[in-house]
Assembly symmetry: C2
Homo-oligomer: 364 residues x 2
């Protein structure tokens, strides 16, 4: 059992890690705290790929005080020469007396190697301190390296009676400006935004991070559009914006014009005229996307749910009743009995301006 | 501006009033605190019609200490001889030095008469202390005596995507036992439960208070069923239960058999085969019903919403996704544009077991 101070220091490391939330992609966010005589003498976090790891930043901030100190780091330190030198070596060289790790590296090729190097150097290592919290913090990275697909967050905006638009399609501004600002943060956390051609044709969305208060170091999430027959108009707003647009199709006959507009066209399998979403997610994982945010209509949302490809739901519920002459949230033609329904576990409910944001994962 | 201690004592009176929530019908709930030298020396609340008023109970509990004391009472004391002697006289006789009132009696025939009697006896009276809170507490009573119809609470149980049943009608147990227990409390607060014949035919509901922990002094809410063509089966569960069943119809040809089963049949106007809901509510007000709880399907719920006959919504939202092959919450065929939607103000959101209870009123 970790002690109270272990929990306090690892909590601080978890919090530090969050500083890299908008910038660390495709790397995991990592935080590190160095403690000497019960006092924090160094702090570090990982900002972006190619930049120093959290441990190195913490060692630099601690200076000589690192000698004989205890290191708390959310993720197992690396032992390999990657874009930066291995952290284990640096910890050993700095004379660290003990290392406390949140969770071991989930990457099956790495898992445990850092521990071995530290132990071989005679440094005691404890693991599993707040590992559940680290697991939640790194859900996207873990999903990519262990399941070969990103962590998928499905965002929907709806009325309190679960409607997203009038039957006519009329839908603008169901939720308030605070909810839309919150979506900017969801986008900034995500490596890619996934949508369907129906949404592109109806709303011509930008899917970009444009809140000046959010610093992504210039990065924009990749825009992934499921577009079986390549109906994407050449005038689509997103094609002219900074960042990458990838269009997934079944039939790529018309790809040249879109390629000329800067989009990348990827031909994948499909069924009944629908692009294979699993294949798209696997392709995104190969592109080192940890977190995908789905901003789509009821057809793609229902398709992803039906195929169990959603890990988390974020619902912005506006305090409106829209009634029956409207579109529902999820098209799920195969769910004909109550036993087909999906059970959720609500992890967070909070007001966002006049709206309510509900975050949920799937139960059982 | 009321002072801090005014607010504290009136808050205590408001809380005392709640003791009568399940039993005071058709009377308003009222609470009273008697304060001498800054200390509470007497407390009272009104339990049920015919029993002593809150002020009398408080005077009895204070005894001699009432002389020279200040009375805090949520509602203007009565000055007329009704089922009990007038409270104003008792307050004067007890030598009360000052009376602080939450709100004046909303009944236009009474409003201000108690104040006049007290002032004429030389007792200073202050009004409007926490009157907004009293107004919320007495919403049903106020609606009945000023608008001639009860306060209408529409209760719905749905999934997180706003669905109440499968398209096939399959719907049992969408919400959990805690939500169903909470509905027992909603029923106990209500003078009547309003439903439609569709719900009776589909679910054969009891609409009764059966939680042994809720003491209504034996009272059951009146069961009001909108049943234009008198399709209510003679075997309907509710006909055999304690309490009154009133069936509102347009065509009362078949009334005799139902009357034999103990139901009261009331013929009211209607349009397009639907019973005039406004006329039903007015009839319930004449029966001294302050609060109506609607437990109905999407047709009646939508009809009431469309006709602005709902004052409050209570939604039990289960953490399930039910999808598109389902029934929505509200049938509102006339709401074809986004501008027809109803805007709500959420007044409370809380977990009730695994479900979420959302309470809302209509905005603007």
């Amino acid at each position: 059992m970790p002690g109270e101070s272990d929990i306090a220091f690892m909590t601080q490391a978890l919090r530090l890690a969050e500083n890299g939330r908008y910038t660390a992609h495709p790397n995991p966010v990592v935080g590190c705290v160095i403690v000497s005589d019960g006092k924090v003498v160094g702090e570090g976090w990982h900002q972006s790929t190619g930049a120093a790891h959290a441990e190195i930043n913490a060692l630099n901030s601690a200076g000589d005080k690192a000698r004989g100190a205890t290191v708390f780091v959310t993720l197992e330190p690396c032992s390999h020469h990657g874009k930066t030198p291995p952290c284990c070596e640096a910890l050993i060289d700095a004379g660290i007396a003990e290392v406390v790790i949140g969770m071991q590296d989930p990457n099956p090729d790495v898992d445990g190697k850092g521990l071995k190097v530290l132990k071989a150097a005679g440094i005691p290592v404890r693991t599993g301190v707040l590992d559940e919290q680290v697991r939640l913090q790194l859900a996207g990275f873990i999903s990519r390296v262990t399941a070969g697909r990103p962590f998928v967050t499905l965002k929907m905006a709806c009325s309190i009676d679960g409607r997203i638009a009038m039957a006519s399609g009329e839908s603008q501004w169901i939720t308030g400006p605070e909810a839309r600002a919150d979506v900017q943060r969801l986008r900034a956390r995500s490596g890619a935004i996934l949508s369907g051609i129906g949404t592109v044709l109806a709303d011509d969305p930008s899917f970009n991070v444009r809140d000046p208060d959010i610093d992504t170091l210039g990065r924009q999430p990749l825009r992934a559009v499921l577009d079986a027959q390549l109906r994407m108009p050449l005038s689509a707003e997103m094609l002219g914006l900074p960042g990458q647009t990838v269009v997934y199709c079944i039939d790529d006959n018309k790809q040249q014009a879109l390629t000329d507009e800067g989009a990348e066209i990827v031909k994948v399998g499909g069924e009944a005229g629908q692009v294979n979403a699993q294949a798209v997610l696997e392709d995104l994982a190969r592109r080192e996307i940890n977190n995908v945010l789905v901003e789509a209509g009821p057809v793609l949302a229902g398709h992803l749910l039906t195929n169990n490809l959603v890990d988390e739901l974020v619902i912005y519920q506006a305090p409106h009743i829209m009634g029956s002459e409207t579109m529902g949230m999820f098209e799920t033609p195969a769910w004909t009995a109550l036993s087909h329904r999906r059970l959720l576990e609500i992890t967070d409910t909070r007001p966002v301006g006049p709206d309510t944001r509900i975050t949920a994962r799937f139960a059982g």
